[in-house]
Amino acid sequence: MQVTVLLFASYADTLGTSSIPLELSSGATAGDALDQVRSLAADALPSKPLLAVNERYARPEHVLAAGDEVAIIPPVAGG
């Protein structure tokens, strides 16, 4: 199944892109998506960043569905 991983701010700079399409096997989790993206970045991303699935915060164990939007969230700095 295919999901989209979104990157922001410093993480987008690190990867040189703000969006990565990923092909994952059925039953894959948000953490699996993170691991794949980290391997693309030679582990330049932290190992336990905040994650969101479809615009809601989610745990790494969250099981993904085809078409999900997974976001890797750098430390937020609003205000």
Binding site: A9, E55, G79
Partner: protein, 150 residues
């Protein structure tokens, strides 16, 4: 109740008027502005970016929570995105309630939760021409180290 991410200057007076009503005796406005110094470095400007859909959703949830937790306070929040200059307002939170305690508490709740949960990021531009994404978790460490080294 209204929350928004905006790409233009925030009109503080309009937000104050939006929560004002003849039944609310107390309004509190919080205005966050771009400072010329952060974490000890001279800042010349700031750039805000967001995971827009999620930030809008979280901001709306926070305003709802603040209103529910603090006596049905009226809550209006605008957070600006894009390039900001020194002194520009990046966020304005307007709360109102018949009694001041609830208006203050709702205001404080919104800014603390916003800084914790809303996926917004900012890149500071420094006097020396460099730019850097602000990482509040790393700044806290700096501050602690500074404390220890005193």
């Amino acid at each position: 109740m209204r929350t928004a991410l905006v790409d233009r200057p925030i009109d503080v007076t309009a937000l104050a008027n939006e929560v004002a009503s003849a039944s609310n005796g107390a309004s509190v406005l919080f205005i966050g502005t771009v400072r010329n110094v952060n974490d000890g470095r001279a800042v010349t400007g700031m750039e805000y970016t967001a995971y827009r859909g999620m930030a809008e959703r979280e901001l709306a949830a926070i305003a709802r929570e603040a209103s529910e937790e603090f006596g049905g306070s009226d809550v209006v929040v605008e957070h600006r995105l894009g390039a900001l200059e020194l002194g520009d307002a990046s966020v304005v939170i307007a709360t109102a309630h018949p009694h001041r305690g609830a208006a203050y508490a709702a205001s404080r709740y919104v800014i603390e939760q916003l800084k914790r949960r809303v996926p917004i990021w900012k890149r500071e531009h420094y006097v020396d021409g460099t730019r850097e994404w602000v990482d509040p978790t790393r700044q806290a460490n700096h501050a602690e180290q500074a404390e220890v080294s005193k």
